[in-house]
C-alpha cells in the first residue's frame, strides 16, 4: 500500500536564485532504502513538471538518512523576479511530500 512521503519523512525547501533545494529526511532511517529506490530524480521531476525544471539532481546522504534534491530553474527567476506568491519556493517541500512510496514492494 503506497504511502505519501509526508507520513514517513521530513522535507525542507531552500532557494538560491532560480534554483531550489529540498532536503528529504527519513523520520525512521529504516525507510531510507525504499525512498532511495523509488523517489528518483526522474520522479521528482515529474512531480514538479508544471514548473518545468531544466535539471533535477539527487544527492544521497546515507549517514544522515537523508537526500538532497536540487531543482534548476523552477522559481520563476527567483525571489527577486517571481510573479508568484512564493518566490522562495518555501511551500514546495510539501509538493515533494505528496509523492507516494511503497514501503513493502516485495509483498505485493
Amino acid at each position: 500500500m503506497p504511502v505519501p512521503l509526508h507520513d514517513i519523512a521530513n522535507a525542507r525547501a531552500g532557494d538560491k536564485g532560480n534554483r531550489l533545494n529540498i532536503a528529504l529526511v527519513c523520520r525512521d532511517p529504516k525507510h531510507y532504502a525504499a525512498i532511495a529506490s523509488q523517489v528518483t530524480a526522474e520522479r521528482v521531476a515529474q512531480a514538479f513538471a508544471a514548473r518545468q525544471p531544466t535539471r533535477v539532481t539527487r544527492y544521497d546522504l546515507p549517514k544522515l538518512a537523508a537526500f538532497n534534491f536540487v531543482l534548476d530553474d523552477v522559481l520563476e527567476g527567483g525571489v527577486n523576479a517571481s510573479l508568484g506568491l512564493d518566490g522562495h519556493g518555501k511551500s514546495l517541500s510539501f509538493l515533494l511530500l505528496a509523492i507516494t512510496v511503497d514501503l513493502y514492494p516485495d509483498n505485493r
Partner: protein, 455 residues
C-alpha cells in the same frame, strides 16, 4: 587556550523577533568560556536598499533591524563579556558602529570597543561590463549600466582580527553568513587558516546558526506529524564548539522548541546544493561524513565535517533596478464563485491583451490554486474548488504605466466585472533584480577599523 567556545544566534533574518536574543544571552551569561552572539540580518535585497539609503544620507545605510534587535540585550552583553558579531552594517558599517555607540550611551552601558569590517563593497571596483562577464547562472547584467550595489562575500579572517584587537562588537557589511560564527571560532580557538577540517566545522556551525530558530523547531512544525512544543516562545540556538571542531547544538533552558536529529538534519541541508562541496570564502565544506547524534534532551552533537581548500574565486551579489511589481486581488464567494472568478480573470486578460500585449500577467486563485500553480495566465480551477476564492493578478515591468494599468483593470471589476466582486487590494512594490558573480580574490581588500580610530 580555551577548549570550547559558545556562539548564540540573536537573529536569523532582518524580519526576526526583537526578543529572540534575550534568552540566548541569559544562557550564554551562565556559560564558562568565550561567548559570542551573532546576528544575520542581511538579505540580498536589504543590502541594495541600504545602498540606496546611504546615497541619500551618509549617516544611514545600515540594517533597519539593528537597533530594535540590539536594544534588548546590548547592555547585558557588554556587562558580562558576551561579544557581538553582526552583518547589520549593511552598506554603511561605520555609520552602524556610531549608532551602536550612541545606543550604548543611551542605555547607560559601558562604552564598547566597536570594530568595523569593510571592503565588501565592489561598486566602482569593476565596470558594469566586467561584472556582466563574471555573472553565473544567468545574463541579467548584460548591457546594464545601472548597478545599484555590488558586494563580495568576505570570509571570517577580518572578523577574527577585529576580535583579536579587543572588539566587544564587530559590525560587518556583506560577509558569508557562516563567517559570523567562524570568525569568533578562529579568534577563540586559535584555528589556522589552512586547517581545512576545522574551518569546515566552524562553517558548519555558522550554517546551522545563521537562520536562528530554523535549527530549534522553527520552519519545522507540522501538527500531528512533527509537533513542536512552545513554538510561540521558541529558543534560538546556541552552538558549543570544541577546539577539535566537534560541537553540540542546543537552545536556552526552559525555552520552547526542540533540538533533535530531525530539526538539525533539516537545517544542515538547508540551501545546500552539492553536500560534498558547500562553497564558502574560507573553505569548501563536505557534509557527507557528518554524524548527527542526540546526546540529551535538546542537545545534538555533530562531528565529521571535512574541509577542502578555499575556492579560487569569491561570490558577489550585484543588484540592478528590477522595475515595479504590481499585485491586485479581488474576492468571489458563495454559489458559483469559481465560475465568477474565472470570468473575472478572462475579462482582465482580454482587456490587457489589447492594452499591454507585452506584459506577462500571472493569475492565482488563492485557496484553490496559487503557490503550487504553474504561473501562467490561464486560470483552470480544479473541480470542487472552494466557494471562497481570492483572485490575484501580478505583473512586473520597468514600464510603471503598464503595471498600473493592470491594477486599474482589476479595480474596475468592482462595477464592470462579475457579480459579487469584493475587497480589491492593490500594491506596487519597487523591485531589485540580483545576479551572482564570481570575482577574483585580488578584488577582496578587507579592512578592520576600531571605531575610535575611524570616528
Amino acid at each position: 587556550m580555551p577548549e570550547r567556545a559558545f556562539i548564540g544566534s540573536g537573529a536569523g533574518f532582518a524580519g526576526d523577533r526583537s526578543d529572540a536574543a534575550v534568552a540566548v544571552v541569559e544562557a550564554l551569561a551562565r556559560a564558562d568560556g568565550p561567548r559570542f552572539l551573532m546576528y544575520e540580518t542581511l538579505a540580498e535585497r536589504t543590502l541594495a536598499l541600504c545602498q540606496i539609503e546611504r546615497r541619500k544620507d551618509a549617516a544611514r545605510g545600515y540594517s533597519p533591524a539593528m537597533e530594535r534587535m540590539l536594544a534588548p540585550v546590548l547592555a547585558r552583553c557588554l556587562g558580562c563579556g558576551i561579544r557581538i558579531v553582526g552583518n547589520f552594517g549593511a552598506a554603511n558599517p561605520m555609520a552602524a558602529a556610531r549608532r551602536i555607540a550612541a545606543l550604548a550611551r543611551a542605555l547607560g552601558a559601558p562604552a564598547p570597543r566597536i570594530a568595523v569590517v569593510e571592503g565588501d563593497d565592489l561598486t566602482g571596483a569593476l565596470t558594469p561590463a566586467e561584472f556582466a562577464a563574471r555573472e553565473i547562472d544567468g545574463a541579467l547584467l548584460a548591457g546594464r549600466q545601472d548597478i545599484i550595489s555590488a558586494n563580495l562575500y568576505l570570509g571570517a579572517a577580518p572578523i577574527a582580527q577585529a576580535l583579536d584587537r579587543g572588539a566587544d562588537i564587530v559590525v560587518t557589511g556583506r560577509v558569508a553568513d557562516s563567517a559570523l560564527a567562524l570568525g569568533p571560532l578562529l579568534h577563540a580557538l586559535r584555528w589556522r587558516l589552512d586547517d581545512w577540517d576545522r574551518l569546515a566545522a566552524g562553517t558548519m556551525a555558522g550554517h546551522l546558526l545563521e537562520c536562528g530558530a530554523q535549527l530549534t523547531g522553527g520552519y519545522f512544525a507540522d501538527p500531528g506529524f512533527k509537533d513542536v512544543p512552545g513554538l510561540a516562545e521558541v529558543g534560538y540556538p546556541i552552538a558549543e564548539v570544541e577546539a577539535d571542531g566537534s560541537m553540540v547544538v542546543t537552545k536556552p533552558p526552559g525555552s520552547g522548541g526542540v533540538v533533535d536529529r530531525l530539526t538539525v538534519t533539516e537545517q544542515l541541508l538547508y540551501e545546500i546544493h552539492d553536500p560534498a562541496a558547500y562553497l564558502a570564502p574560507d573553505v569548501v565544506l563536505d557534509l557527507t561524513g557528518v554524524d548527527v547524534t542526540e546526546i540529551g534532551r535538546d542537545r545534538v552533537r555533530l562531528t565529521g565535517a571535512r574541509g577542502k581548500p578555499a575556492p579560487e574565486t569569491l561570490k558577489a551579489t550585484v543588484c540592478v533596478d528590477g522595475g515595479l511589481l504590481g499585485e491586485a486581488e479581488i474576492s468571489y464567494a458563495g454559489p458559483n464563485a469559481a465560475a465568477r472568478a474565472q470570468l473575472a480573470a478572462a475579462i482582465v486578460r482580454e482587456r490587457m491583451r489589447k492594452r499591454a500585449p507585452q506584459l506577462t500577467i500571472r493569475t492565482d486563485a488563492i485557496g484553490a490554486v496559487s503557490v503550487f500553480g504553474a504561473g501562467d495566465n490561464t486560470l483552470a480551477l480544479p473541480r470542487g474548488a472552494p466557494d471562497d476564492i481570492r483572485l490575484r493578478f501580478a505583473a512586473q515591468s520597468r514600464d510603471a504605466a503598464q503595471v498600473s494599468l493592470l491594477l486599474d483593470e482589476v479595480e474596475a471589476l468592482y462595477c464592470a466585472g462579475p457579480a459579487g466582486g469584493a475587497g480589491v487590494r492593490r500594491h506596487l512594490t519597487p523591485r531589485l533584480a540580483s545576479a551572482s558573480c564570481l570575482i577574483e580574490r585580488r578584488y577582496a581588500r578587507p579592512r578592520v577599523t576600531l571605531l575610535e580610530e575611524g570616528a
